[in-house]
Amino acid sequence: MLIIRNLHAEVEDKQILKGINLTVNAGEVHAIMGPNGSGKSSLASVLAGKENYAVTEGEVLFEGKDLLDMAPEVRAREGIFLAFQYPIEIPGVSNINFLKTALAEIRAYKNLPPLDAKEFLQLSREKQKLVEFDAKLVNRSLNEGFSGGEKKRNEIFQLAMLEPSLSILDETDSGLDIDALRIVSKGVNKLRSEKNAFIIITHYQRLLEYIVPDFVHVLYNGRIVKSGTKELALELEEKGYDWLKEESREKEVTTV
């Protein structure tokens, strides 16, 4: 589904990603962990098409197509979804109209007619229930005055509505209390299928107790320095990141 080869990217002339290699297949959940400033959120932003990131080297193929060549909205229509670490508040744009517009554009891209009002309402109700999203929030302005947890749950509600094939969750667990974390995870687990894939970016192992990954990767200094299964996350929780930093430094020395 997603193939990242030797991806280098910079922001404001600062090299952030220094050669990422990653392959994600349908049905898989990949966790990307790593210390602050290692490039985790930058990777998410580059994949979603944020314009202030410049890709300097490497390639990204999504379903065989050149992802880096697509505008952010085209990536979304092709099936990529980024759950934002800091969802934006947009007063005056109602949550539901925003979703209606987004869904209509995605469907138009796939040559599907827009859902009629009844179908849309039905879908929206079904997904609200699935991810336990408060119906009162649906008609409010987009994220305006939402609590941190409500914003994150809204991201998952949007994910449920738009049904992307690849979802990237950028520190969705940050700022969530234990109940919200459980609800968000439950939602994601319900949405998991053989046809879609998830990349979960997180700082802590906590979220991975609820959403169990198939693979865990550690990002450090713009590179994936270690990959493994879910046990790696536990090891990191226990030992921290310092041993990996050491290891990667040694590796760098030997390569030089």
């Binding site: 505008a71 979804f81 979703l99 554009e105």
Partner: protein, 444 residues
């Protein structure tokens, strides 16, 4: 100054001739016209040296020749589809070049409502006094109107009008024309009036397509005086949707008496070359309430200038003002909001806010709040912002599959929402949202 203008502004000679013709034939208001015309000649057309016109240079609009519409009959025009507000249950009257033909659609007017042509009202000695007001200070265009007006709408309301009154102003001409509509609306004690005004320019019937839009110029110098008596309520929406070629200079003075309420919602859309609105609320007695809401969406080479004045003369009055602007393409916007609190006006609450979204690099906005406070026990605030699209918001929408243009259109509509949501009549709110959406999305 005016002697220089006499030589350099072609319109000037036409104005003098028009005035002479009018004064020769019309005895009724001779004195008021004379004194107003003297003042206009003294002041001349305002230039950027005038503080109130500092950012609005009308020089380029005065280069054309204009005929005065003093005695020109109104052309026959068809009501444009765009002027109809779907779902609005109200009385509708249409003025063509400032002249009403006397027809009302939407049923007979209720008893308490009296509407007359100004041409008639000035013949009535009991009403003529409303048109003799000479206290207009240095307002050159108002003096010009007072000297030259011939028609408009006189409205007097007793009791509550059950449905909104929709007034459609159509402007149409085949040669450059300047007209001076004059309106006086009197809302008596305890009465209630809801007015929805709209302004359109149209081609004369049978002439569609013969003259290119924008080639023929029409200059409308309009003056509206509204008197809101004790305990009255006036809800006043103005929608300015005239096309290229139109130059609209509007002065509206609202005189508020004790405990009266006046709400104004002014929407200016792309089209007219020049729109200058002077909206003045004179709070002449205590415990009044005033809400001024404005939204200007300017495009092309348009120049849109809103000058407001809230004149707190007496104690315990409340005023609130919110104007928002969206500047597209090469447009220029001006907002000047003056709040004047007199020494006697203790316990005044006066709030003002102006926010602007500048979409294009070539668009400009001059925003100037002006507070002059001479009382010591007051609550006043003002704020002014100028900003661009939030890149983060645009990206967020695009990351959900929404195209860049649609994303920007959504954000413009969201920005405008604070003002449009204030409209109390749902049909009018929908209509305005529809008008706005016709002008976006646009290329930055």
């Amino acid at each position: 100054m005016s002697t220089i203008q006499e030589r350099t502004i072609p319109l000037y000679e036409e104005i003098v001739n028009g005035y002479n013709r009018l004064v020769a034939s019309d005895g009724d208001l001779r004195r008021a016209r004379q004194s107003a015309f003297d003042k206009f000649r003294l002041l001349g057309f305002p230039s950027i040296k005038n503080e109130d016109w500092k950012y609005t240079n009308i020089g380029r609009f005065l280069k054309d020749e204009f005929a005065l519409g003093v005695s020109a009959g109104a052309p026959s025009v068809v009501l444009p589809e765009a002027a109809i507000i779907p779902g609005l249950d109200g009385y509708r009257i249409v003025l063509v070049n400032g002249v009403w033909n006397g027809e009302v659609s939407g049923g007979p007017l209720p008893k308490g409502v009296e509407i007359k042509r100004v041409a008639e009202a000035i013949q009535d000695p009991a009403l003529a006094g409303y048109f003799e007001n000479g206290k207009w200070g240095n307002l050159a265009f108002v003096h010009l109107n007072t000297a030259l007006f011939t028609d408009g709408l006189f409205i007097r309301v007793n009791g509550a009008v059950d449905k909104p009154l929709q007034i459609i102003h159509l402007y149409s001409t085949e040669r450059n024309l300047m007209i001076q509509p004059r309106h006086v609306w009197v809302v008596n004690a305890n009465a209630e009036l809801t007015v929805v005004e709209s302004v359109f320019s149209v081609e004369a019937e049978g002439k569609r397509g013969e003259v290119k839009t924008g080639e023929v110029k029409i200059w409308v110098n309009s003056l509206t005086e509204i008197i809101a008596h004790t305990d009255s309520r006036v809800d006043h929406t103005v929608i300015q949707a005239a096309a290229a070629g139109a130059r609209l200079v509007n002065h509206t003075t609202v005189r508020q008496k004790k405990q009266s309420l006046y709400n104004n919602y002014t929407f200016t859309l792309p089209g007219a070359d020049l729109v200058r609105n002077d909206l003045q609320a004179r709070l002449e007695e205590d415990h009044t309430e005033t809400h001024l809401y404005g939204l200007y969406l300017a495009a092309g080479q348009q120049l849109v200038d809103n000058h407001t004045l809230v004149d707190h003369q007496k104690p315990s009055c409340f005023s609130n003002e919110l104007y928002k602007g969206v500047l597209l393409e090469q447009s220029t916007g001006v907002f000047n909001g003056k709040v004047y609190v007199h020494k006697d006006a203790q316990k005044t609450n006066a709030f003002q806010q102006n926010n602007n979204l500048v979409i294009s690099k070539k668009a400009t906005i001059d925003s100037k709040p002006e507070l002059e406070i001479f009382a010591d026990d007051v609550k006043c605030s003002h704020g002014s912002t100028v900003g661009q699209f939030s890149e983060d918001a645009v990206f967020y929408l695009r990351a959900r599959g929404i195209g860049e243009e649609t994303a920007k259109a959504l954000l413009i509509a969201a920005f405008a929402f604070d003002v449009t949501e204030k409209i109390k009549i749902r049909a009018v709110e929908n209509y305005i949202n529809q008008l706005i959406s016709q002008h976006i999305p646009v290329q930055g």
